[in-house]
Amino acid sequence: MFQNSVIIRRANFGPWAATGVWLGVVCFGFWLLIDYELRAGHIGHVPDVWPNQTSFEHSENRFKLVMFIHPRCPCTAASLEELSKILPRLGVDGSPIQRDAVRVHVVVLKPELTDAAFTDTLLVARALDMPGVQLLFDDGGVETARFGAQTSGHTVLYSPDGRLLFAGGITGTRGHSGDNEGAELVVRAFFQKVNASQEAARARVFGCALAEPLCGEGNSMNIGM
């Protein structure tokens, strides 16, 4: 006959404690991942009117879309990706015979005391290959500072008469392409004939700081050429 029995387990909190620690670390890992991706960069003072002293080629009666990038920021690949998606929607296809409604510039920061190799990266090459885009190297960051750009991927849109229509980023998160608010605002501002009294649209910008240090600097996955 079997004895009636109740198996009572002795206290063993080890696995439970380990589970608690493990859960905490996993949650922290997810938080770290998401926090990094959602942390927006700074935006400086962006002039409401197209500055006269700028070195960009003057282009009256055309919108001016300018993106400021750090040549070694890995997050900015997504910004360029988004830019390449926006341009066709703005009618820019790079055809030499067509006169585009938008003048597009990608400004590559070239800090002082850096040589040409600093800007010799895959990212810059990608920008160079984009149709309808004029690439400018900003020695010493003069233009970058002028337009209040402090984060790589910072984008501004000015109307043909020089009014600021949009300032911010065109990616949803850091380094992630895909649907996002900034890109939608750029397109909307372009098509909606914003009047003078209306304030410029703004969006958070995701990318590395245009000042050192850079998030991708020094690691093996550096996108430098």
């Binding site: 029995s5 009572i8 387990r9 696995p15 997810f30 991706e37 380094g175 996955m221």
Partner: protein, 731 residues
């Protein structure tokens, strides 16, 4: 202090009262098997998924999050170790605590986290959401619906948090809608409903199986109890039959009376063999067969087995031949009881399925010179043989080669199955070769060791050098075997295959210096007795030794009338033949050859003991008392445990023989009380019981008894156990 039980773990381990408790234990065992198996599956799956995350991070993420560029973003350096971190604890728990409730819930959490990470790494691709549904389906393998709740909760929480605050990472778009996480969770719950139902059904099926297993175990226990009772009830009267027959055999009897009583004793032994077969089969079924090696004389023991078949073989006119090669050692260690059982089965079958002809039991050394000793036993018959397609069936329980044979030849069909099990248990193998219509040869090999405690009988010694014998037999095999055996003793052998030929040889003067004639009794044309009569006419002084397949009533008188020795029974054991030759040739310096273990024990110096015999069965009392008294011991007989305790208080005994199942006070209780009395601790107590089921012997020793004898008590076993226990006390 108890561990937290909010996952319901304690319920698995708790066993309720009553009959259902065994079912619960069996169910829990089944569930645990499932949990451990599924734990291992998930340990492998999670590690695989971690590598999938690595692959997704390297190759899929750059093409979803940063479409055309295909660049690796630095944030993946967090994602990749995160996947291995997720897999880490589940794998550790599977290795250290497989089957535990916590382990499978941690696995459930890890699976849900892995889904979240994979969905994120693939940019919220809808296809990756199938990982969630796949994971839930896999988790249903546990047949524990609570695990699904854990995993689904994590999935819902993840979809809610990311769906609200970062929809793009889980749904792939920014305009996912505020309640889209609810829609996803709804689908998860939808799947859960069916999976949970499946889990409940799975557990219900497992419970039904456990109930059936419980019922089957109940039936097995009932069968075991029945067998134990049956064994006890049959053995107790058998003890009386065999004991009294044994005692009668020790009195002054005519050879004929001895033969009758020996046959009665043999029949009782056969009945016990059937009983043992049934018990053995029960043990085979339960995997509880045990082997007990003891020292024994091979030729003597196997010869005894074959002699027991002499009447049956003679009735069918079958020559039973025992052919042991000279190089086979005689004093061996092995389980002789099991060897006898195997031989009884094989020889019994051979006789059963043979109409006439011969059966040869051959023993040869199979091992090399420096190898552990292995002997091969062949039992070759000239019976009906076995059809090729039936050979595979014969070692199965309850099967004979042809079902019609059961009706024709009888038998339970257990013998060969048990023999095969016994042989394999002893480290041997059994094979069969057969030609239908010609005969069969069953061969088995067994390992043995040589017994140093026994005296080799010296069957090679040429004690009979100078003796010339005429050997007459119509069976060529018999002639060959006897001629070889006699030759090893130094006898010069002349053979004749018929009585006529023998007479010609003797009358022709070719055997003028013959010392003795050994003749088969049953021969065509002229039988052995007629031949002996003829020989007496012209060679009155030559001893004639007849050898018969069976001794019939009147044979001894016939021999006396002719003036020849009484016949020896085929197959003739070496010891018997040597003794007969020595007597007939007047060689008093030669003893019979091999002494049985019993004989050797009889010769051993022995003290005479004060024995307390505790036995409630009157016939058993009488047998044991007579047997022990004849050997000089003083025996006090009491009928139950209480009387034994009283007797022990009043007198001093050297040893107690204790029956276990008695009225008033049983053997175990009496032993316990005696152990508390003065001298009780040091007095050996031997259990004498008809309980011979597995574990009874061990139980006796656990209960403080010093020895164990099963009923019916064989005189030599009682003597041997008595000597062993008393020797142990002295040591």
């Amino acid at each position: 202090m108890l561990t937290p039980d909010f996952l319901g773990t304690r319920g698995d381990a708790q066993v309720a009262d009553g009959k259902g408790s065994r079912t619960e234990i069996l169910l829990h065992e089944h569930q645990r098997e499932v949990w451990v198996r599924t734990d291992r599956l998930f340990a492998g799956l999670l590690v695989f998924e971690a590598f999938c995350c690595l692959f997704a991070g390297l190759f899929i993420t750059p093409r979803t999050w940063i479409v055309a560029t295909g660049l690796l973003h630095v944030h993946l350096y967090i994602a990749v170790p995160l996947s291995f971190l997720i897999a880490f604890l589940p794998v550790v728990l599977v290795l250290t605590q497989p089957g535990e409730t916590l382990t499978r819930h941690v696995i459930a959490i890890a699976q849900a986290c892995m889904s979240a990470l994979l969905i994120h790494l693939t940019g919220g691709r809808i296809e990756t959401h199938f990982h969630v549904f796949g994971s839930l389906a896999f988790l249903a393998f546990y047949r524990d619906w609570k695990v699904l709740v854990t995993a689904s909760t994590v999935v819902a929480l993840d979809h809610f948090l990311r769906g609200v605050y970062w929809p793009e990472s889980v749904f792939g778009v920014i305009s996912a809608g505020r309640y889209r996480w609810l829609e996803h969770t709804g689908w998860v719950v939808f799947e859960d409903i069916f999976l949970m139902q499946s889990c409940r059904q799975g557990v219900a099926e497992m419970r039904r199986i456990a109930e059936r297993q419980d019922a089957a175990e109940d039936a097995t226990r009932a069968k075991s109890a029945f067998l134990a009772n049956m064994s006890h009830e049959i053995r107790t009267p058998m003890n009386g039959i065999m004991g009294m027959t044994g005692l009668a055999l020790e009195t002054e009897l005519t050879e004929e009376q001895k033969g009758f009583l020996a046959t009665a004793y043999g029949s009782a032994e056969s009945l016990l063999t059937i009983l043992d077969d049934i018990l053995d089969f029960s043990k085979v079924e339960a995997g509880k067969l045990e082997i007990h090696p003891v020292p024994f004389h091979l030729r003597e023991e196997v010869g005894d087995v074959l002699n027991a078949f002499s009447v049956r073989s003679a009735a069918k006119d079958i020559d039973l031949i025992f052919d042991v090669f000279p190089d086979v050692p005689d004093a061996l260690n092995g389980d002789i009881a099991r060897l006898r059982q195997i031989l009884v089965n094989l020889v019994g079958n051979a006789i059963k399925f043979s109409v006439q002809g011969q059966i040869v039991v051959r023993v040869v050394v199979q091992s090399g010179v420096d190898q552990p000793l292995r002997l091969r036993f062949d039992v070759a018959d000239s019976g009906r043989g076995i059809k090729e397609e039936e050979i595979g069936l014969i070692f199965r329980a309850f099967e004979q080669g042809d079902s019609s044979m059961t009706r024709r030849f009888g038998g339970t069909g257990l013998g060969l199955a048990i023999s095969k099990q016994l042989i394999e248990l002893m480290g041997g193998t059994i094979t069969v070769e057969s030609t239908f219509g010609v005969g069969s040869t069953f061969s088995f090999e067994l390992p043995f060791t040589q017994a140093e405690c026994l005296v080799e009988p010296g069957h090679h010694t040429k004690n009979f050098a100078g003796v010339k014998a005429l050997l007459v037999d119509d069976n060529a095999t018999n002639l060959r075997v006897l001629k070889r055996n006699l030759g090893t003793w130094g006898v010069e052998v002349v053979v004749a295959e018929s009585s006529k030929e023998a007479l010609q040889l003797l009358q022709g003067g070719e055997c003028a210096d013959i010392s003795i004639v050994l003749t088969d009794v049953h021969m065509p044309d002229m039988d052995g007795f007629s031949l002996a009569s003829e020989i007496r006419d012209f060679l009155p002084n030559i001893p004639v030794l007849p050898i018969a397949s069976a001794i019939r009533p009147g044979d001894y008188e016939h021999c006396r009338a002719i003036g020849i020795a009484r016949p020896l029974l085929k197959p003739v054991k070496d010891s018997v033949l040597r003794k007969a030759l020595a007597e007939l040739l007047g060689r008093k310096d030669i003893v019979g050859g091999t002494e049985s273990v019993n004989d050797q024990m009889k010769r051993m110096p022995s003290d005479y003991y004060e024995i307390l015999l505790v036995e409630d069965h009157e016939i058993n009392q009488k047998f044991a008392e007579r047997f022990l008294s004849k050997r000089g011991h003083r025996v006090t007989v009491v009928a139950n445990g209480q009387e034994a305790v009283d007797a022990f208080k009043n007198s001093r005994f050297d040893v107690v023989l204790m029956d276990l199942q008695m009225p008033v006070l049983d053997g175990f209780a009496a032993t316990q009380i005696i152990r508390g009395l003065p001298n009780g601790e040091t007095t050996p107590i031997i259990a004498m019981t008809a309980h011979t089921m597995k574990g009874d012997r061990e139980k006796c020793f656990e209960k403080g008894l010093d020895g164990y004898i099963s009923k019916p008590v064989r005189p030599h076993e009682l003597q041997a156990e008595l000597l062993r226990v008393m020797q142990a006390k002295k040591d």
